[in-house]
Symmetry: none
């Protein structure tokens, strides 16, 4: 017990440590240099492992990126979960959903850069990058479910729900990218409250069948 098992465990722990280092280093380097200027060497230097070690954990650079995108989408989905019940009205809940995404991304610019740049690769060639594309689909499907939950299921066809989810996802990602571009820093996501509530308000007004004439507002 004091000999065999811990040794194996220690080896495994070391391996897990290397893996984790590479993941974190990868995200950090991408955040600083962007996808294209991120080289395997820079990642392994930042992770403080040998260059060969990278290929003991990942099949390729693209493989690491897939991992990172998966983690990023996980985080985006998780972030929303906490705010799901913050409000009672559909408008408030939709606004909370959007603001939750914005705040999470606002705190982690690496994620904005990663997800933006990978999206840029995917919209280029419809046939390629299926594994990566699935992650974005997962994110949009999550938003579809959330929108339906908030707005009420029967009012939306599958296609309409997807269109709306794309609008929500696009609003979040796009607004943030322009904010960063214009302000040159992370920006204050609180300042985005007004357009967010406006968007949420409009969506509820147009998508939720008004229960009473005055409820739409």
């Amino acid at each position: 017990m004091t000999e065999a098992t811990p040794r194996q465990t220690r080896t495994k722990r070391r391996r897990a440590q290397s893996f984790e280092n590479l993941v974190q280093a990868g995200l950090a380097v991408i955040g600083q240099r962007g996808l294209h200027e991120t080289t395997v060497e820079r990642i392994t230097e930042a992770a403080d492992v040998g260059k060969g070690t990278f290929y003991a954990h990942f099949d390729s650079k693209d493989d690491l990126i897939s991992h990172l995108v998966r983690l990023g989408v996980d985080e985006l989905i998780a972030a929303t979960a906490t705010q799901r019940r913050a409000d009672r009205t559909p408008t408030g809940r939709l606004a909370a959903l959007i603001l939750g995404q914005l705040q999470t991304l606002g705190r982690r610019r690496e994620l904005v850069i990663l997800l933006h740049q990978v999206r840029g690769l995917l919209i280029r060639q419809p046939e390629a990058g299926d594994r990566l594309r699935q992650e974005y689909r997962r994110y949009v499907r999550f938003l579809m479910r959330e929108c339906r939950r908030i707005l009420g299921v029967p009012s939306l066809s599958q296609s309409e729900a997807r269109t709306l989810a794309c609008a929500v996802a696009g609003f979040v990602a796009g607004t943030l990218s322009f904010e960063i571009l214009m302000r040159g820093h992370r920006g204050n996501t609180l300042a985005l409250t007004r357009p967010v509530t406006a968007f949420a308000h409009g969506v509820v007004a147009r998508y939720v069948p008004s229960r009473s004439p005055t409820n739409g507002c």
Copy 2:
């Protein structure tokens, strides 16, 4: 003198033709392969000119990209101008503004890819790429003016107008990128009418001081 002018003209025409070929080829190749996989050689092949000719017209690959972004922003601004008076109500005019952008971009996927990927480069390092950044600022400032024109000037501070313009720009660019990602093709921008009007409606409701209590709807 009766000879010199045509001579010069012929040569200049040839030069202009090469330039135009390179610009169009550049946009086309970027649309197919993305910024990073677009090589100068691929561009010159597509333009059917020698590789050296590229550098007779542009200082560098980045220089061409700057040109293309400028043209793209010009097109985006011009596209909107035609729809400026299509509607009378603020909501309708705002929706028309957004739909105009979407339709123009929907027709020209190369522009979506170009502007998306360049934005991806710019949000990475705040200090670099100033020339390119100026183009995006020009676009956002244009949207600021349009929003103010539509919503009425006094209601918006400079900062709020900028935030709103970023939201509009982001909504357009982001929604389109997710649509392309999900549908795998250009998508039908008409299907986006509903979220667009929702957004426009919400913005007017929240930004325009209501003239009468029922007007917001």
Copy 3:
């Protein structure tokens, strides 16, 4: 007379002017940027003529360089002629010969750079660059004649005279290049008087059969 001849003359003058501009511009650019960084375009810009004009006057870049080297050697030879009779003693005349070369080159750094760099090309491959090599041979042969004249003809075999001339030429060119390297500017060629007279003194002492025991010093 007022018509035909002057017109031809004017054309010829223009052509001669272009030629002269190119020669001067070539020398100037080489002086500033060195042989390798001197491009035909930079020369034609400096000469304020079109790029094609260069090839109306010279077969190639190498052709211009040949011209310049020829002019440089001419100048070196001419510079010496004036000082030929400045002194009576062999030591003084030899020192005057060397100092004359040094002063001419000291005033025209472009010439130092040109002749040094071209020599660098020629010592690399014995078989190539024959036309250029002839210019340096002309220079060395000139020095052979001068040395013989100063030291007295019968005392030197052809081979020894050539070796001595190489030493003189090498002393001049080499000393100047190290001076410029160490001092970072043209340097004061007057400061070189002491090593020059030392060299001249030694050569006379060792090459001239002493007429009297005390004359060697």
Copy 4:
């Protein structure tokens, strides 16, 4: 532990071998083709390594050249050291110093070409190439010390010593370059004995305060 060291050693030996191959190949190729026609690819072919390997050992082509110049200057200095005590009289010692340089360079034409061509680059722009320039300064400073040692320290100011060292260095490098140029081959450096002793004689006569009137000869 008993295994780790040999492993590391084997890899390191391989690396050192590649490095040495590149250095030798670099010098050889420069000797054959000159600085400008020496391409990284030609070097790696001659060294029988992949092109990328070059950049695993050197930052750039210039970096290799710096290395080679350093080695060349080292060799020049080392070559002299052995002959330092070959003679007793100042004239003999100075001549031995110069002949030592000439014989070393006469045996290694690559070094002549390398040092000549690099000097050609450095005399062009006073401000650039500081790292390379330092090597030449090191060489000249070495010659300053040697001259002082041979001629006796008190007789020379710092500035005069530097001028004399430049003259010695220039005499060596320049004479050899003209010899190679004229003879088309390595030449017999023994044939240079006469001008060398003449130079040495003259320097001693003019720089060493004569102990007795007849000693100068």
